[in-house]
């Protein structure tokens, strides 16, 4: 029997009786990171990295049923060694290494190789079998160095400021928003955040992650303060009445999907910034090579196509169906898990 199996509840290790990122309630779940397609409600016992824990605990209302490990630390469950390794996707995100009697599997979770300045940078892990995401697993997806993208964002902000406009930038609440906040040039002007973003920021600040000041938008914030400011909000806020108070504004969206002109136009953004927390085509291929894996399972994204490509490259690869919704990804987010005031609602979300 394979060390890890793909079941209708999630990726399962029978020897240890443990699931990785399961989407149905289970006894024991090891969680790669806090995005809602990976960290679901209702498991009895959770294990995550110590950095990812506060957000997961906050989002899922966990009490004391979550335990943590630092990157590289090993836990042995019925003879199976589990450990977390940096995935570089968002703060605390991990690849999950599973070892039993010398056989090593790695589940990538979501990952990127670029250092984003806020997440612990990705580290390749040698393994026999690699389970990889493929959200952007087509050669049309290539990212520029992060510095170039932030130069674009800073220039856009400056230009808007000069024209007396606010700059509204939409990026996913957990991860992208903090990455933006951490990397824009705060000397340009004031930065504000949507309540949902601020709630996550507060959780992270409390755990010691250093983020620039960015007060949440409330009715007390004056119109004058907003002029020329940068406002970070979730994609779901775009098109809602909430954004009207920023008029006149320019709307930017930060996402890997912005690489395609069609998606950019569809979202009605003035600017699309190609900024992704997932690997691009080149990095995906590099990462797989570096694992030295003889066998690769491909999950969310262009899994079928990417598996075919790997097979042609002489790597045994299979497509796996999971509930990780990479293909719809960041752009499909219909509503934030959190309302503006930080309370949660139960609309289903699809997240990277």
């Amino acid at each position: 029997m394979d060390l890890l199996q793909f079941t209708d509840k999630g990726i399962y290790c029978a020897q240890a009786g443990v699931y990785l990122d399961p989407w149905k309630p289970v006894e024991k779940a090891i969680i790669s990171h806090g995005h809602s397609d990976h960290a679901y409600f209702g498991h009895k016992y959770y294990l995550s990295t110590s950095i990812a824990m506060p957000v997961i605990k906050h989002r899922l209302y966990l009490q004391d049923n979550i335990e943590t490990l630092n990157y590289g630390e090993i836990i042995n469950i019925n003879g199976v060694n589990f450990s977390f390794h940096p995935a570089g996707h968002i703060p605390g995100s991990a690849q999950i290494r599973v070892e039993f009697k010398g056989e090593v599997w790695v589940f990538s979770g979501d990952y990127k190789l670029q250092d984003d300045g806020i997440s612990t940078p990705f580290e390749p892990v040698k393994c026999h079998t690699f389970i990889t995401e493929s959200t952007f697993g087509l050669p049309i997806y290539k990212w520029k160095p992060q510095q170039e993208v932030f130069t674009e964002i800073n220039q856009w902000w400056l230009k808007n400021k000069a024209e007396g406009k606010a700059s509204l930038i939409a990026g996913y609440t957990l991860g992208k928003s903090q990455r933006i906040l951490k990397n824009v040039d705060p000397s340009i002007g004031k930065i504000f955040t949507h309540g949902a973003v601020d709630t996550i920021n507060e959780v992270m600040r409390k755990q010691g992650i250093d983020l620039p000041e960015a007060p949440r938008i409330t009715n007390e914030v004056s119109k004058d303060d907003l002029k020329g400011a940068l406002i970070i909000c979730p994609p779901s806020a775009v098109g809602s009445p909430w954004v009207r108070r920023f008029l006149p504004y320019s709307l930017g969206i930060a996402s890997g999907w912005m690489r395609l002109r069609g998606t950019r136009r569809r979202r009605g953004a003035d600017r699309g910034f190609v900024l992704s927390d997932h690997v691009d085509w080149d990095d995906l291929n590099t990462a797989i090579k570096e694992t030295g894996a003889q066998r690769v399972y491909v999950t969310h994204g262009y899994s079928e196509l990417f598996a075919q490509w790997l097979n042609e490259q002489g790597v045994e690869a299979h497509e796996v169906k999971t509930k990780y919704e990479g293909e719809l990804g960041e752009m499909a987010e219909t509503a934030s898990t959190e309302n503006e005031d930080g309370t949660k609602n139960d609309t289903t979300t699809t997240q990277p």
């Binding site: 087509l138 050669p139 002109r261 003035d270 600017r271 196509l305 042609e312 719809l328 499909a332 219909t334």
Partner: protein, 529 residues
Amino acid sequence: MKHFTKLFTDLDQTTKTLGKIKALVEYFEKASDQDKLWAIALLSHRRPKRTVNASYLAQWANELSGLPDWLFYESHHVVGDLAETITLMLPAEFEESNYSLTYWIDFIKALEPLEVHQKKEKILWAWSQLNETERFVFNKLITGSFRIGVSQQLMVKALAKYANVKENIIAHRLMGNWSPDINTFQDLLFADEGTDFSKPYPFYLAYALEDEISSLGDPEDWIAERKWDGIRGQVIVRNGQLFVWSRGEELVTDKYPEYHVMLSLLPEGTVLDGEILPFKDDKPLTFNHLQTRIGRKTISQKLLKDVPVSFITYDVLEWQGQDIRTCKFEDRRKLLEEICSKESTVLRLSPRVMFNTWEQLAEERARSRDFLSEGIMLKRKDSIYRNGRRRGDWWKWKIDPLTVDAVLIYAMRGNGRRANLYTDYTFAVWDGDQLVPFAKAYSGLTDEEIRQVDRWVKVNTVERFGPVRSVKPELVFEIAFEGINKSSRHKSGIALRFPRMARWRKDKLAKEANTLSDLNALLKITENT
């Protein structure tokens, strides 16, 4: 190319009219006259001729990327646009250069006589000289697919602002027979009137009426006509010559030889607005009939006899050489009735639909299909003839579409703006216990519904053929369409006009969908010939 690429990017990056005008004016201020002229031509859909087959471009780009053909094909399917796919697949390296827009257009034109291997060498060189956005613009130019969100109206506004000339004068000058190969920028903007006799007026286009008909106020203020299902056109008699323009700004005089009699029916200096419509035995024919004439280069005697074409006129824009567009519609209509007083099978007056109350007009509208008409046109009696699509004075009040309930059987990944979702569907109706495909549709659902269908498709796939999946025949949709015709090219034997999804019938089971005989019955009702 740097200025033009910046213009392209600026236009692409703003959805706001003022922003677009600003970008255009900035460009006009910086670019050379020849570049300006080309920019105007490109933005008003006058593209240079294609000189390289698009499939070669794809092949060469793919060779450079070093990837297998199928991966290029799949990527193309996700992106939707070939020029964009090529751009995204090409290796990032390039040498910074700054040749002008005109340089690249001439470069593209000069490829025409070359052998394929010479073309290849030239194209690879061009790619090596351009950065990613410049490559995209270049690829759009060379694949002849350069389209950008600038309406004629917007362009007119920007040029008027830049050159300080009145908008209506610019609008008129931009129409008609000009080309950057023959005319100069100075010609186009500052030449005297009257050098180009063929020049049509910009068409005034109506919006669809969405509110209650009573919102238009007093019926006394309006004139109603039937809305014809043909091609909008302008007939011009000037300088002893006849010119026929279609709304796509195409000179189509040669396609309708029967219009030649206009020269004896209409006096010098006349411009009529109306509909190019096939008409036989005093009855209009379907749009399907007209289509048999549109595509033809030469019109045979038989075709002329089978599908004779009339011009149903509903407005007069120029009379005795005078532009009368600012006269009241009511007065123009009176004049038009006089012009059309001579009986002719070619030039026909679009009859007024008389009514005193909106209820009466609604009854007339309900009879539209009897006239093979799409509904009612409403024009305010005191309205002037304006440029482009405007709200307020002209409305089209279309009849409700025909509908049928059908089963989803195939789904294909969308392209362009819906690149990552299964959005293009094929629908079938029952023929006995068989499902016969009869229509494709990809519009009408909300984004949320598209996502739901997409998810459903992914878990209910039966078979895959490239980007297409066949799915379990379970989902039922109400398909709305404007017309139905016989077709030998389709397995079902019928073809629909403008099919789209009106509703997702979650309340219906597949077996409750309509049948092929239901469709044939509709065919009988609507054919009417």
